[in-house]
Amino acid sequence: MGLIGENGAGKTTLMKILLNLVRAEEGQVKIFGKDHVKEEITIKDRIGFVFEENPYYENLKPSQVAKILSLAYSRWDWNYYRDLVKLFGLSEKPIAKLSKGQKMIFSFIVALSHHAELLLLDEPTAGLDPVVRREFLNELRNYLAGGDRSVFFSTHITTDLELVADKIAFLHKGNILFSEDVDELSNKYHLVRAEKSLLMKVDLIGYEEKKTHAIGVYEGERSDLETLPCSVEPASLEDIMYFATRGRHV
């Protein structure tokens, strides 16, 4: 599942709530069908996480941190860890000296090395170069292909989600605006271009006026727009996010 939303929407807070690092003001969280506070330890043993900021000891080398973490997880797999280190070409030098991308990759390797059934990834592709990003997404797809596994993935790079997510939730100012299957999104949201006067009459989730025309996103059936003199195409995630966040903008 992909989680999108503008800065400050609450994506990181939601991740922290899932890990019980932040207390939810209301509501209940259940992971693997269990209460995330009462069953905290067993749940976390089955969760891998990647934060945007490196949480590990900066003065230690990856293998030293892994040695400590291997004591924490019941299903730590050294062979898998070594394979992933090799695959991503992770340097064996103090974490403080690794690039932002390498730090992220190390977190990802740790998250995978204990055979987590759920991965919580908070902006994992931020700071990755295109090659590593592609490898990262490939490995994520391999992980998901492995069986009953889930990924909760927050990002600003919506194209990443189009590659790996089968469901998207859009968080805006702490509220979920929608939570839909990716396939449904392209059927449900349409990017519409038409004359300004025409678009003003259509009930759009957001639009923007240009010099000669206006552009906006419509939520509903494509057939609703067929009689109108406008161009219609499936809205991308970025379009939906942009127009839903900004609303009607002149």
Binding site: E40, T42, P55, Y57, E58, L60, K67, L71
Partner: protein
Amino acid sequence: MFSVELALFKERFLLKSFLTYVGIYPLVLVFQFFTGNEGAPQLFFPALAVLFGSSFWLVFLNDGKTDSYRRLLPSLPFGRSEIYLSHFALRFLLWIIGCLISYAISFFASLFLDIQLDLSHVLYGISLSFGIFSLSNLSLQFKPMISIAYLGALTGLSLGLLLSANNLLMQELQNIHLWGPTLLGISFALGLFLTVFNGVLYRWRRP
């Protein structure tokens, strides 16, 4: 969890942090007691015990960036109670070892310095040391850099107060009959309260 704490001790050692922030304190003691400035040799054991009690040397585990107790460890499969108990248990063990080392050093130093190691001074040292130890445990509530500053300041203040007042603090405590086992009892009671308070705060607080 305890094995993770032990592994942390083994894998992490930041001599730079140690020397930068707290390495000066052992030097203060050397200057105070071994350079002919024998202000209050009876304070040698209490000063050493306070120094170990403040866990000042644990600063070498802190890189000033990694938020072990508020961010990393609670993200791993550990409950907050477990993290806190493990944190306390290991440091309590180290405090006992610190007291024994302090006594051993004081004993050997007493062979060539006028150091008093009678029961009352030992109890006085242990009482102060345990009080400072309990206060030092609050450091897990703070951000890494604040934690370093807190431990450094706590050690500096407690040693400063102890040594600058010469023997005044001890005499005042004697005057109001807070001495020996009574002082030790008060210290342990306060320490217990602080430990429970710290644990409850750590368990419930979400920074």
